[in-house]
């Protein structure tokens, strides 16, 4: 029944039960890399991270498998500041290991390209997740490690950023171009590194929630929910059915405003201003509906550890109920119009195409993955909140181009509206059974949520006083930025870049953290 259990058994592993649905296993340093590689053959490497503290260095790899709602976490204690890199065997580990190197100072031996991922201006040897307070003030910043530059006749480089032209997030792109065409694009990220996870250490779970909700503004609820669930699962807290339904409702509201915003920005990038304006106006209505429900447009403060900080007010629910039919009608009308606007679709077809094999090898998530045949959605694969009782479809497209990314988002808007209908129909007016006994406290657990950008995976480790020892956030943008360069390189022009960027809609704040 459990694909992960069978896989582990095949490798002679005997995992112990962790928080509900989780299995934990440990292995020696020497066996870690081959074991991760063997597991990655039959399962998906969902995260790979380090935990460092006084006299403590631990690597953890998180796996999931298609058709299995559970998770397998493989831990390994290190005896020194280096470990054998997994990347030569599992390509999708590349950025995780670079992050471990720069943030924790653990060296992945044998990594093909262990350059820094985000620290451009930072003293050598002061890993932010491990250094003592005030460390950043010590030492001279070292030379930035830059990405490789394409050399050749007529190839020149154009930098863009980090300060962008409109009200946008800071981030840099280096274009290698031969005139019109894009030979390569390298995103230079990390300008906004706030070391958010480090800030949570030693704090209470409720204080950590404030940070989790501010890791990224437009995915405040998804990151907050994944974090809250990780804490609840660590402490064995069960959430009541009504609050689970409310969490699904807010989850969908956030997915909705993001998708509407992303579709609008894509229209704007192609010059379709009326469409951009109409989508933005609709997004504004969704934000206002969120404020009516939670007193915050981005739903911050709505969550608490164990449920919601306050029940959803009936006035807000009524407002939403009244608004939904109009949202259905308008999104449908705009979808038809978008599909009929040739000048729009022409810019999207074949633009920034991701090959399905490449997308699968990187374990992509969210609409970016699903538009390149990676069929993952943790609302369905690992049901949480109220998703087990909800009916919805997960759109998947094979093409992998900007058009497919748009098509997936458009369909997801429709599905989200359908979920909201169901929740309002039967979610809030009567108390439902469920809840039940608390689970055993484990002090560490995963939590997850399908945000608009995709799978949002958090990990929390608490000490005996329930203070945060380690909080790890692996938001969707961290995974998907990995393939941005590759997608840009396939026969696109410089002038396509705004369209490419909008079609990916990747968060800098989530990546930089």
């Amino acid at each position: 029944m459990s694909a992960l259990r069978d896989l582990a058994a095949g490798l002679d592993m005997e995992p112990e039960p962790g928080a509900a649905g989780e299995m934990h296993a440990t292995c020696s340093e020497e066996r870690f890399a081959p074991r991760v590689a063997a597991l990655a053959e039959g399962a998906i490497l969902a995260d790979l991270f380090a935990t460092t503290g006084e006299r403590r260095r631990r690597l953890s790899a998180v796996f999931e498998a298609a058709g299995d709602p559970g998770w397998l976490v493989l831990h390994c204690d290190l005896s020194s500041d280096s470990f054998t890199s997994v990347t030569p065997l599992v390509h999708s580990a590349a950025w995780y290991e670079r992050e471990i190197r720069e943030m924790h100072g653990l060296e992945p031996l044998g990594h093909p390209m262990p350059a820094r991922l985000r620290l451009l201006d930072w003293p050598e040897g002061v890993p932010p997740m491990r250094a003592g307070p005030g460390a950043a003030a010590r030492g001279e910043p070292s030379e930035p490690e830059r990405v490789p530059v394409v050399r050749g006749r007529g190839v020149f480089q154009i930098p863009l950023g980090p300060v962008r032209s409109g009200p946008q997030e800071s981030g840099e792109f280096l274009f290698n171009s031969g005139g019109e065409d894009l030979v390569a694009v390298s995103p230079l990220l990390g300008y906004k590194l706030r070391a958010v996870e480090r800030l949570a250490e030693g704090r209470s779970p409720e204080e950590g929630l404030v940070l989790a909700e501010r890791l990224a503004g437009v995915s405040a609820f998804a990151n907050g929910l994944a974090y809250a669930q990780a804490v609840e699962r660590s402490l064995g807290i069960r959430v009541g059915p009504r609050q689970r339904a409310a969490r699904s409702l807010l989850n969908e509201l956030e997915r909705l405003h993001n998708h509407l915003g992303d579709i609008g920005r894509l229209a704007e990038a192609t010059g379709l201003m009326v469409a951009a304006a109409q989508y933005a106006a609709l997004k504004e209505e969704v934000l206002r509906a969120g404020a009516d429900l939670t007193a915050h447009r981005y739903l911050r403060g709505a969550l608490s550890i164990g449920g919601l900080s306050a029940p959803l007010p009936s006035s807000g629910l009524h407002g939403l109920r009244r608004a939904l039919p109009g949202w259905h009608r308008r999104t449908e009308r705009m979808r038809v119009l978008l599909e009929a606007t040739g000048t729009f679709t022409d810019r999207l077809e074949t633009t920034a195409r991701l090959r399905a094999r490449y997308a699968a090898a990187h374990n992509l998530v969210g609409p970016v993955g699903r538009s390149a045949a990676v069929d993952r959605d943790c609302r369905r694969d690992h049901p949480y909140a109220a998703y087990e009782e909800l009916r919805f479809e997960v759109p998947v497209r094979p093409e992998g181009d900007a058009q497919a990314r748009l098509a997936v988002r458009i369909e997801e808007v429709r599905q989200s509206l359908g979920i909201l209908d169901q929740l309002l129909e039967n979610g809030f007016d009567r108390e439902r059974s469920g809840g039940g006994e608390p689970e055993t406290a484990r002090h560490e657990a995963l939590g997850w949520c399908e945000g608009a950008g995709g799978q949002t995976l958090h990990w929390v480790e608490l000490d005996a006083d329930a203070r945060i020892v380690r909080w790890r956030a692996r938001p969707p943008a961290f995974v998907n930025w990995h393939v941005y360069s590759e997608a840009c390189a396939s026969g696109n022009n410089l002038t396509d870049h705004p369209v490419i960027e909008a079609s990916f809609a990747l968060s800098h704040a989530e990546f930089d953290r």
């Binding site: 009200p167 800030l199 503004g217 106006a281 704040a509």
Partner: protein
């Protein structure tokens, strides 16, 4: 294309009446405090609840002082839910101020007496030589110095038909050389400090600087982070502070109009003046 225009026309006017009329759908823009409604114990409790140190107390149940700094408030709502008699949301968007001190309130208590707010000086109209220059139109250069993208999301909404900032003569510009106003979001990270300074230096005099959001004002939830430099006014001189996490589009509009002297300052964390 014509079908899109038809759709646009059919949808009609979507624009808010603000600033001429209040927007009935305005979201909470700030937390307001009625210090008199608190006991000393409740003041201590509020300070414990507040995750960013926006509410602080010194002293004990006998004598002490409550200090509320709306610049650090991230609108988490904890104080409002726990002590609704003393902490409430205000939906009036006029929360921007011209000096950092105007965002704070102090209340002192002594034996048997609950906290009493100290008198707040009337808003002192700082007449800036540059203000009148920008009365008609203002060109804004935005820099994200290390935000969570919540603030940008609201800035982007300003361009939507609902807020339509162009009708007020406000424009975002991609070139610092054409900019009159630098609008900064986010805590200043170590790695954004230089690009931020470069942008400021490239702007012609006179120039205004607006700190938007709890992060730019005080570091917000990221205060004290190892990889952050600090609040904006540690790096550049700031003319206008607009609190919020993020400040709503209406609050941003007010802040920009305040920056150019086309709106009044109304904010104070105490409920007595202001809203």
């Amino acid at each position: 294309m014509s079908r899109w225009i038809a759709l646009g026309l059919r949808r009609g006017m979507l624009t808010t009446g603000y600033p001429r009329h209040p927007d009935p759908g305005a979201p909470p823009a700030a937390v307001r405090v009625r210090a008199e409604a608190l006991t000393a114990e409740q003041a201590v409790r509020a300070a414990d609840l507040c995750p960013t140190g926006a509410i602080q107390v010194e002293g004990d149940a006998g004598t002490g002082a409550l200090r509320v700094d709306m610049g650090r408030c991230v609108m988490c709502g904890r104080c409002v839910r726990a002590l609704p008699d003393a902490f409430t949301y205000s939906t009036a968007p006029e929360v921007a101020v011209r000096s950092r001190e105007r965002l704070t309130l102090r209340a002192v208590w002594s034996r048997g007496e609950g906290p009493q707010p100290e008198a707040i000086e009337a808003a002192e109209e700082l007449q800036r030589r540059s203000l009148s220059l920008f009365r008609r139109s203002l060109h804004i250069r935005h820099v994200d110095a290390g935000s969570c993208n919540g603030c940008e999301s609201e800035l982007q909404m300003l361009g939507s038909p609902v807020y339509d900032l162009h009708r007020l003569g406000l424009f975002f510009t991609p070139t610092p050389r054409h900019a009159d106003c630098l609008l900064v979001t986010g805590v200043v990270t170590r790695q954004m400090e230089q690009p931020l300074r470069d942008t400021y230096d490239a702007m012609p005099e006179p120039k205004l600087v607006v700190a938007a959001g709890a992060c730019a004002i005080a570091g917000g939830p990221f205060e004290g982070g190892l990889t952050v430099r600090g609040p904006l006014d540690h790096v550049l001189p700031v003319d206008v502070y607009v609190p919020g996490c993020p400040p709503s589009p209406l609050a941003l509009l007010h802040a920009l109009l305040l920056a150019v002297g086309r709106a009044q300052e109304r904010c104070s964390p105490g409920v007595r003046d202001g809203s």
